[in-house]
C-alpha cells in the first residue's frame, strides 16, 4: 500500500466517524458520545493530512493550529448561552471564508506550477467554493450583527434589490465562466467572484428580520457545508465531500423545519419584508384591545397558581433577552414542591435559532423530558390550568387560525387559549415581529402582567411563596 491509499482509507474512517457521530446526536443520551466521535473523526482527518508527503513546512501549520485552536477554545468557553445564536453564526462565517481561501490557494498553486493545465471540474469547483464561501462569510457576519443588535433587526428593504441581486449573481456566474475559459489569468475573475459574493452575502441577509433568524442561521449552516463540499471537489478529496454534504443536508433539513413552522416558503423568507407590508387586513390595536385587557398583579396570579394542577410555560425570544430562564426554573421549583405538574411548550421557531429555547432552559437545569414539542403539547392545553406566556407573541396569536388574511395566517401556533387561565408577562401591548395585535391579550381568560420578564417572574416567585406560606 502506498501512502495515498493509507491517507484515503483514513479519510474514509473519518467520514464513518462523522456519520456515527451525527447519528449519536439523534438522542440526548448518546449525544455527548456522538459529539466526541465526530471530533475524533476530525482528529483522524487532520493527523493523516499532516502525513501527506507534499507538506514541507510544519512551522506554519503549528502556528495556524495553535492560534486558531486558542481563539476557538476561548470563544467556546466564554460565550454565554444566550449568545449561542451569534456564536453559531460566527463559526459558520469562519468555515465559509476558510473554504474560499483554500480554493484560492489551490488555484494559485495549480496555475503557477509546472505540469498540465487545470481541468474544467477543478476550475468550476474553485469558483463555486469561492462564491459560496465568501457569501457565507459576509452573510454570517450580518446575521451576527443582527443577533448582537449591532445591525438593525428590522428587515432593510432596498429599492430594486431583487434586480440588483440577480445582476450580481449573473456577473458572478460570468466570472466563473471567465475563470474556466482562461485559467492562466485566474486572479481577476476569482477575486471578482469573492468580492461579488461578499456584497451578495450582505444584500441577501440584510432584508431578513429578527424573527426569521432561525431560518437564516440554518441556511448559512447549510452553505458552510456546501462550501466545504465544493472545496472537496477542488482538491478531489472524498473526506471533504462527504463531511461537507452531510452538513449541507443538515442545514437544509433544519431550514425546511423552520419554514414549515412559520408556514412560509423559503423564498418568502429570503425575499424578506414581513411585517411592514402587512397593514391591509386585520384590525387595529384599539379594536382588539380597547377596554378588554385584564391587568393583573403577581399576588393575584400567585393565588391562581396555588390551585393549579398543571402549569405550562410558553417561552419566547423575550425570555432569552431578559435572561429570565433561571427565574422560570425557580418558579417551576416552587410549583413542583406544592405538587403542580410543570411542563414547557416549545414552538419550533421560538427564539433566534433552531432549539434556542431548549438550550436556554437546559442551562437553567430544566429536565429535557419536560420540554414538549408543539404537536404534542397542543392537545394538552385543554387540561392545563395555567399557561404562562413569557416573551412569546406571534407564536401564540390565535389570529393565525382565524383570519386567513393575516400575515401569519396558517402558521402553526401553540393553542394556549385552550388553557383555563393564560398569564402573559410582557412589558407592553406592543406587537411582535409580525406587527399585528394579538387578541389573546384581550381574551376573557387572559391575565396580563405588565413587567420585564425577569422581574415579573421574580415577583411571581416571591408572591407564590408568600401565598403558600400564608
Amino acid at each position: 500500500m502506498d501512502t495515498q491509499t493509507i491517507i484515503n482509507a483514513a479519510y474514509l474512517l473519518a467520514a464513518v466517524l462523522f456519520i456515527t457521530g451525527l447519528k449519536g446526536l439523534t438522542k440526548p443520551k448518546t449525544a455527548v458520545r456522538g459529539n466526541k466521535i465526530g471530533s475524533t473523526g476530525m482528529l483522524v482527518a487532520v493527523v493523516v493530512t499532516l502525513f501527506d508527503q507534499q507538506i514541507l513546512s510544519y512551522g506554519m501549520i503549528l502556528v495556524g493550529l495553535v492560534v486558531g485552536g486558542a481563539i476557538g477554545a476561548v470563544l467556546a468557553i466564554k460565550i454565554q448561552m444566550t449568545g449561542m445564536p451569534q456564536m453559531v453564526a460566527i463559526f459558520n462565517g469562519f468555515g465559509g471564508i476558510a473554504s474560499a481561501l483554500v480554493a484560492g490557494a489551490a488555484l494559485l498553486e495549480v496555475s503557477g506550477g509546472p505540469g498540465e493545465v487545470p481541468g474544467a471540474q477543478f476550475l468550476i469547483a474553485s469558483g463555486i467554493s469561492g462564491l459560496i464561501g465568501s457569501l457565507t462569510f459576509t452573510g454570517s457576519f450580518i446575521a451576527f450583527g443582527k443577533l448582537q443588535g449591532i445591525v438593525t433587526t428590522d428587515s432593510v428593504l432596498l429599492p430594486g434589490r431583487h434586480v440588483l441581486n440577480v445582476l450580481l449573481g449573473i456577473v458572478a456566474i460570468g466570472a466563473i465562466i471567465m475563470l474556466v475559459t482562461d485559467p492562466t489569468a485566474f486572479a481577476v475573475p476569482y477575486l471578482a467572484i469573492c468580492l461579488l459574493a461578499f456584497v451578495l452575502g450582505v444584500l441577501l441577509t440584510i432584508p431578513i428580520g429578527g424573527a426569521d433568524m432561525p431560518v437564516v442561521i440554518s441556511l448559512l449552516n447549510s452553505y458552510s457545508g456546501l462550501a466545504a463540499a465544493a472545496t472537496g471537489f477542488v482538491l478531489s478529496n472524498n473526506g471533504l465531500i462527504i463531511a461537507g454534504s452531510l452538513v449541507g443536508a443538515a442545514g437544509i433539513i433544519l431550514t425546511q423545519i423552520m419554514c414549515k413552522a412559520m408556514n412560509r416558503s423559503l423564498l418568502n423568507v429570503l425575499i424578506g419584508g414581513f411585517g411592514g407590508e402587512a397593514g391591509g387586513a386585520g384590525s387595529s390595536a384599539d379594536d382588539v384591545y380597547g377596554g378588554k385587557v385584564t391587568t393583573s398583579s403577581p399576588e393575584e396570579i400567585a393565588m391562581v397558581l396555588e390551585d393549579a394542577q398543571r402549569v405550562v410555560f410558553v417561552p419566547g425570544y423575550g425570555m432569552a433577552v431578559a435572561q429570565a430562564q433561571h427565574g422560570v426554573k425557580q418558579l417551576a421549583n416552587v410549583l413542583e414542591k406544592q405538587g403542580t405538574d410543570v411542563l414547557y411548550a416549545i414552538h419550533p421557531v421560538a427564539g433566534r435559532m433552531p432549539g434556542h429555547m431548549n438550550v436556554l432552559l437546559a442551562e437553567a437545569d430544566v429536565p429535557y423530558d419536560q420540554l414538549i414539542d408543539m404537536e404534542e403539547i397542543n392537545p394538552m392545553f385543554a387540561e392545563t390550568d395555567v399557561a404562562i406566556v413569557i416573551g412569546a407573541n406571534d407564536v401564540v396569536n390565535p389570529v393565525a387560525k382565524t383570519d386567513p388574511k393575516s400575515p401569519i395566517a396558517g402558521m402553526p401556533i401553540l393553542d394556549v387559549d385552550d388553557a383555563r387561565t393564560v398569564v402573559v408577562i410582557k412589558r407592553s401591548l406592543s406587537p411582535g415581529f409580525a406587527g399585528i395585535p394579538n387578541p389573546l391579550f384581550a381574551a376573557d381568560n387572559t391575565l396580563m402582567l405588565f413587567a420585564d420578564a425577569k422581574a415579573g417572574i421574580q415577583d411571581m416567585v416571591t408572591a407564590l411563596k408568600e401565598t403558600i406560606d400564608a
Partner: protein, 94 residues
C-alpha cells in the same frame, strides 16, 4: 465528463442522502447542538487548509493557507467544544 468527477459526484449525492436520513431523526431539543456539531464538521476545510499552508509552494499560497487554517481551526475547535458544553447541560439530569 471525466471519470473522477462522476465518482466525486456519486459520493456527494450519496452522502447528502445519508445526511437527510440521519438528521430527520434528530429531535427538536437537540437542534442547536446538532447545528453547532454539524458546523464543526463543516470545518473539515481544515484539511485543505493544512495542505495549502504546508506545501511551501509560494509565499502567497502559504499566507492564504495559513489564514484558512486559522479560520478553519477556530471553526473546528470552537464548534466541537461549544457543542460539548451545551450537551453537558442536557446531560446532567433527565
Amino acid at each position: 465528463m471525466s471519470q473522477p468527477f462522476i465518482l466525486s459526484l456519486t459520493i456527494f449525492v450519496l452522502a447528502v442522502y445519508v445526511g437527510f436520513e440521519i438528521i430527520t431523526k434528530v429531535p427538536p431539543t437537540l437542534h442547536t447542538p446538532l447545528m453547532s456539531g454539524a458546523n464543526a464538521i463543516s470545518g473539515i476545510t481544515i484539511v485543505g487548509a493544512l495542505l495549502s499552508a504546508g506545501l511551501g509552494f509560494s509565499p502567497l499560497t502559504t499566507a492564504l493557507g495559513l489564514m484558512a487554517l486559522i479560520f478553519a481551526t477556530i471553526n473546528v475547535v470552537g464548534g466541537f467544544m461549544v457543542t460539548h458544553r451545551m450537551l453537558g447541560m442536557f446531560q446532567k439530569k433527565g
